[in-house]
Symmetry: C2
Subunit: 388 residues, 2 copies
Amino acid sequence: MHIRKQRLLTPGPTPLLPRALHAMMASDIHHRTPDFIKLYPLVLADLKEVYGTKGDVLITVSSGTGGLEASISNFFSEGDTIIIASAGKFGERWAELAKAYRLNAVVLTAEYGDVVAPERIEQALRENPSAQGVAFQASETSTGAAHDVRAIAEIVKKTGALCIVDAITGLGTMTLDIDNWGLDIVVGGSQKAFMIPPGLAFISVSEKAWTHNATAKLPRLYFDLKKEKKMADKGESAWTPNVSLILALAESLKYIRSLGMDKLIENAELLAKATRSAAAALGLELFAPNSPSSSVTAIRSPKGMDSSEIVKGFRSQFGSIIANGQGSMKGQIFRIAHLGYFDFADLFAVIAELELVLYSKGFPVELGTGVAAVQKVYAEAALKPPAA
Amino acid sequence: MHIRKQRLLTPGPTPLLPRALHAMMASDIHHRTPDFIKLYPLVLADLKEVYGTKGDVLITVSSGTGGLEASISNFFSEGDTIIIASAGKFGERWAELAKAYRLNAVVLTAEYGDVVAPERIEQALRENPSAQGVAFQASETSTGAAHDVRAIAEIVKKTGALCIVDAITGLGTMTLDIDNWGLDIVVGGSQKAFMIPPGLAFISVSEKAWTHNATAKLPRLYFDLKKEKKMADKGESAWTPNVSLILALAESLKYIRSLGMDKLIENAELLAKATRSAAAALGLELFAPNSPSSSVTAIRSPKGMDSSEIVKGFRSQFGSIIANGQGSMKGQIFRIAHLGYFDFADLFAVIAELELVLYSKGFPVELGTGVAAVQKVYAEAALKPPAA
């Protein structure tokens, strides 16, 4: 075999920003000394800017799921009603959390590949006027479908319930106007559009959410966000921070700010559009054609072909790691990510690889046609002046 | 602007092997302690294996040019005759060295893009029977042309002259059977097919070369290869070694050995073949069509287009760094490298970028056709069983 570079093309972990990776080497500082206490508030301030909120944004040393758990344990009491819009594996995680914390969960499910319409949430809120929150995914990573966050938020805003958004793959891939739309809790993760390794979750908390927090009785200690905020206001973290990741985050936030959060989102949107265009050119079907997310594009495997074979082909032929379907979608779909540190050159290569993987499995492919579709999207967006 | 990853696609420095880069972090060892003295002989042994010689291979802390200088200062005396086959900017460097060291240089020049035919060297040796050496480039990086190393070596072998090969971009991109062909001195550089940053030169020395060394009177101290060999036999370097690069080299040699030096060469050959095929599909002319090197492919800029514009387009549109022509070739050609840590995914992207750069400058391009040519070379080489 020839050289095959390992390339992470998954919807998290995502490709690392080199300068952020290198910054991790400066980890020999102590977190209760000025070395860290000078750094941390700057990182929190940059994180707020990138989130685009005037509210608080806190960091926990955990995976994204830890951030989801904090979004429950800090704002609810046992028996509270929560409305969950579940459209995939990550929607089901909200339901698991609600069950573990003994909430009264009203779960609105959508078929995989589809999303929960805002009207259904409106109706559920009418039927459950005491609901304390509505939780859903901005982008459902397992299916590549995106909820209409703005429409849902407008509905929730009129009620006493909190609008709780798992935006782990939504941040940096879609516009989320936290303060104007009324998103009370927005959870992010370091290994997504933030371009650094896994290990940190981010949680924005609105004023309305703090009001709920004041009376929320669920047990919490490690994920106590009030304590975290109190310490953050002093420039520190409640518990031992993940110093190397904070150093990496400082660099990646600098990069995202210099690029512009709007440009980062546009980058993902363009790559997603180009991927959909390539799929169409190759005669492939999208899994979530009606509400496609820009974080990841899920494509159906051609009839009679197990998508696991496609995933394996990418790895064995090219060293590229793409994502299979999860759960019952395994074997049915494969997923190509766009969130974070991805560029058009990555996509040219991925689509050329896809063509060759399909071709090697006997699927009729005219080589180069998918790549040409991507190139056309690039040319339209980057080579011509934008329409007036 | 959107995300544009910086990608080094030049014929040195070349893309870094990640594990080699990471190994540099272990540099806090002392070079006169067992930490280093255990490591260095293993690196030298692996380097010999990768060079494919039973002779000595020594390391200098210098750029490749330092290695070229050592090839002169260790094996000649003032006034000695040296025959130089010069086919580009690096051939001219041999002539500069010969002049600086007051040798009697017989310089055989070829036009840029062409090479010096072995017959011309044979004739020069007949006309200069006292010549002590013949120096040339295996691959002339500035033009993308390769000398017929084997044929030249066979001619030189029959004389008392040393066969001195600048293989800085030749190693790892073409077969060089050092012992059987009789290559007396073969110079390599760390930032080429060795996949690590610049800072080390490698020099193989044959028995015949050591015989010349015994009577060579040119002044030398830092590049004294006899002293270097004496210290290497004790597991040390003559002067302070570049510890971080030796650590990186240890990893890259492990990688090259696991891949196989023959596969590394085949990889470059295939990428070069695919690049030539893409150029043809796009209606572009090669600069060295008759003796193309597999280290780098030099392509003529389309009529009326300055190649500097193409180089700039790669950088500004995609963040990709490709090489312009050097000296008088600047503006005329651009060069795409294949040596070292390059794979097909890199090439799919580079050719897609090239198509868009040309397209953006008004050159007629049917998008995807160059990429398809590359894909076809991949498919022939990797998807079908090799011909019997």
